[in-house]
């Protein structure tokens, strides 16, 4: 067990120290979310009616959830690359705990997600976002985001190992995550959507997480958003972690 922990930390360290050395990748976690915040706030913001709060207050929790949902991209691209370059073979030929490759990825994603959250919150605070709740609630919201991001890592791990090239993984990821995050309460009130989309958005885990974070940060009514997002996150992990581990075993044994 201690081997699993130390191997996982070694893998996580590797994934984290290589990140700043891939400037294009780092842009994805830093400049790109800021750009999204500014575009949404100032291009769409004026046209979207958000009753009871300013659009910037409405937007920041939503855009942070989107950025977290995309947070596993480093995992998808990294695993795809490692498989192609034979690094997974090297790791498997070492007396290393089996689960450490995937676990190390998930831990590194937590670090990059934390970075994204901090950058987006600072951007938000600069352009007028303000918390309406106490520090405890704010931290609870951040913990929920990181937990949701952890689940997203396994979805992306599966994508990364299924895709034949990093470019393909990129394509699959975007095609999957964009509709899921847009047909939700992240950017516009659900009530403004056509009926069919409202039904989709109501069932969407992203909606639950966004609503729960708004509750923690803005004091909006939680409804069943908190437990629904926890159930969804646990379910995603329960489904995708074993699938990712199985795929890892078979992909690596090719």
């Amino acid at each position: 067990m201690s081997r699993l922990v130390s191997d996982t930390l070694t893998m996580a360290e590797r994934n984290i120290i290589r990140l700043p050395r891939q400037p294009d990748m780092l842009l994805g976690f830093t400049v790109q979310p800021i750009m999204f915040v500014l575009l949404f706030a100032y291009v769409f913001g004026g046209a979207i009616d958000t009753p009871g709060m300013s659009y910037i207050d409405f937007l920041i929790p939503g855009i942070i959830v989107q950025s977290i949902a995309f947070g596993g991209f480093a995992t998808a691209l990294g695993l795809c690359e490692d498989l192609g370059k034979g690094l997974i073979d090297r790791f498997r030929s070492l007396p290393t705990a089996r689960a450490s490759v995937l676990a190390g990825r998930a831990i590194a994603d937590i670090a990059t997600n934390t970075l994204s959250i901090v950058i987006l919150l600072i951007t938000g605070l600069i352009i007028g976002f303000s918390f309406q709740t106490g520090i405890g609630d704010v931290l609870a919201g951040i913990l929920l985001l990181l937990f949701f991001g952890f689940a997203s890592s396994f979805v992306f791990a599966l994508i990364g190992m299924t895709a034949s090239t990093p470019e393909a993984a990129n394509g699959i990821g975007f095609t999957l995550i964009f509709p899921i995050t847009f047909i939700s309460s992240a950017f516009v009130p659900i009530e403004s959507m056509p009926d069919v989309l409202q039904a989709v958005a109501d069932a969407n885990p992203v909606t639950h997480v966004v609503d729960a974070v708004r509750h923690f940060w803005l004091g909006t009514p939680a409804g069943d958003a908190i437990w629904a997002s926890l159930v969804w996150t646990v379910a995603l992990i329960a489904i995708f972690a074993p699938l990712a581990v199985r795929k890892y075993r078979s992909a690596a044994a090719r």
């Binding site: 191997d7 290589r18 034979g86 073979d89 090297r90 030929s93 007396p95």
Partner: protein, 338 residues
Amino acid sequence: MTQAPQTSGLAIEATGLTKRFGEVEALRGVDLRVEPGTVLGVLGPNGAGKTTTVRILTTLMQPDQGTARVAGLDVVRDAEQLRHKIGLAGQYAAVDENLSGAENLTMVGRLYGNKRGPAKKRARELLDRFRLDEAGDRLVRTYSGGMRRRLDLAAALVAAPPVLFLDEPTTGLDPRSRLNLWETIEELVGGGTTVLLTTQYLDEADRLADNIAVIDHGTVIAEGTADQLKGRVGGDRLDVTFADPAHASTAVDVLASLSSERPVASGDTVHVVMAETHGAITRAVRALDAQGLEADDLVVRRPTLDDVFLTLTGRATDTGDGKEGDKTDDQARQEVAA
């Protein structure tokens, strides 16, 4: 059913390994035996089963049938312990481009279970030894192909494993880097490491290997020392090229005295398997000159893997030119069986 541990004393012993991928039979019963401290060269064309064999022996893949022991440990049942005793350097230079050389080696050391301090120290030792000390703190993506291979080999040696697997270690390297890598491998073997080396190049196996196993279509079709194999392949080759293809066909008769086999003309070139290399060029030139045949080019070369395959299987390594292939194939198998 318990099986008493075998005490064969062999560093690598594989018996009847088979592996199938869907319709493809990658291995059809591979047997290998390697004495400790020696080098086995596994020679074969692409797709012959070399890499699959290495993957099974390094615990990356399980055989469908057959057994294998490396360093006395079963590759399936004792896989965990075995991973402490083997090093693997593959054909892809499996190192992280976005880490420095030192970081790569330290990471591998940590994954062997070493503490950070000793892992760093070992990384420095290996960087020195592989002439990467100056480049050790640079990112690997700035390295040349030869430097990456050296780093890859260094990574395989972090735990000073008694058995080392090198899967086509020099494929794609320029001649100078290749020579460097050969010297490094020779040093290792001098230190008592057992090495299994796969290669497509006969000269590589010839230089590095104590014994050679030739693999084709998932089975070992010939085994022996380099000299024994070359004995089957025949001596050095003389290739003479003429401007006029008609001269080439005439030259077949003229050059026949150099060889116990009849030379072969293909297009404007005559290929001669020389019975005796010593003085052969002089005799060839005199004979051609006496007949007024003017050669444009004249090359003496060592037998290549192509020649081994032509002789053992009756076909070239890549293009299956099936003329008299079946007959020679059977002959080769009988020879091996004998």
